[in-house]
Symmetry: C2
């Protein structure tokens, strides 16, 4: 046949780090974090399971590279620091990026001093500077904003893991019932209230509200 060795396990070209990272992102996006193994990656790249170690240090490094790749290009697409609203645009852009790549939320929260998170810090910090946040509180404000993003990211990643069919409200109530007794309490009234609101809840709006709280607090101290 003319299609010769279709799918045969032989490299046509030498591997490269960007090629490996790209393949990793594809697996992560399509099948989730658990599906990324050096064996699945090797299969997709038609190579041996140990071949990638020439180009990436280890699995942690690979995940950090994948995260930085996505965050880096999302940030590159943003207009330069200028108007007062720029910080909000950056925060929402990153929130949306995590929404599109749920594994990214878990990854950012796991290692807050990886490259991807530093890129976020840089972007946030520069825009705070541009909008006149005093140097004395700039690091505090940036860190509150980044923590808010990482916290929301983790929460979103966790939501994505709730078995389909079970509503988030029902899930929360079940967990709450399970744990309230151990806390030596009859009930968790506030959590119950939250669970009720969760049905028609907009994560993105709540995230934006948190950003506004922090910015308002910062403005009060200007």
């Amino acid at each position: 046949v003319s299609t010769s060795e279709e799918g045969a396990a032989r490299r046509r070209k030498s591997l490269s780090e960007p090629e490996i990272v790209r393949a990793a992102i594809e697996i992560l996006d399509a099948e989730g974090a658990d599906a990324l193994t050096f064996r699945s990656l090797a299969a997709r790249l038609s190579t041996g399971s140990g071949a990638m170690y020439r180009h990436v240090s280890n699995k942690d490094g690979l995940l950090e590279s994948a995260a930085a790749e996505l965050v880096g290009s999302a940030i590159a697409g943003m207009p330069p620091a200028a108007a007062d609203s720029a910080i909000r645009a950056v925060m929402l852009e990153l929130f949306d990026l995590i929404h599109t790549h749920p594994w990214l939320g878990a990854q950012l929260a796991r290692a807050p001093w990886q490259g991807a998170v530093l890129l976020v810090f840089e972007e946030v910090g520069e825009r705070l500077t541009a909008m006149g946040t005093p140097a004395g509180i700039r690091f505090d404000v940036a860190s509150a904003l980044v923590h808010h993003l990482l916290g929301a990211a983790g929460q979103y990643a966790a939501s994505a893991r709730i078995p389909a069919g079970v509503g988030r409200a029902a899930f929360l109530k079940a967990v709450a019932a399970n744990w309230s007794s151990r806390a030596g309490r009859e009930q968790l009234p506030f959590v119950h209230e939250i669970a009720g609101e969760l049905a028609d809840h907009d994560d993105r709006r709540q995230f934006a509200a948190g950003v506004e709280l922090i910015l308002a607090g910062a403005a009060g101290r200007r």
Copy 2:
């Protein structure tokens, strides 16, 4: 000898869930998250590696129980919701708890809807109610505070993993240098500035500052 079967691998009493959770916390505190395996746990409890499955559902469940145990008793020790400053006391108490048990930071960030985090939500929410935060923004404020805690927790857990001897400032600068080029940038000036401040940096103070920003933002909307 009279000390008979010292250290012999035989159960003296039947296992229980609290006993298992307690042993898990001891391993986590003493040797870190990686050291907790069902085999190390079995060795410490002088039993078989599969025995714990009668009492805990799996490893995730065990970690969630361990986290909830610590958070639950920390919260039980707090005075009831009352004064305006109570919310600050709770947040700092939890920050300190994570400082004492670094693995807890990673665990809370990993699964934000586990029992331990719901207990935090409850405590924060009740105190916001007590201090008069309007119902309309209460959930938003609580979630911003919890995100701040989880974000800080993750960051602290990551700091603890930086190889001893390497300062945090040097570590951050190295990571930044490594990634700035890939972001298509010469440098990351804000991150560089941060790294400089990091030498005499007080995490606890910065965390408290973030809490104040959020509360100030909330007060402005009262």
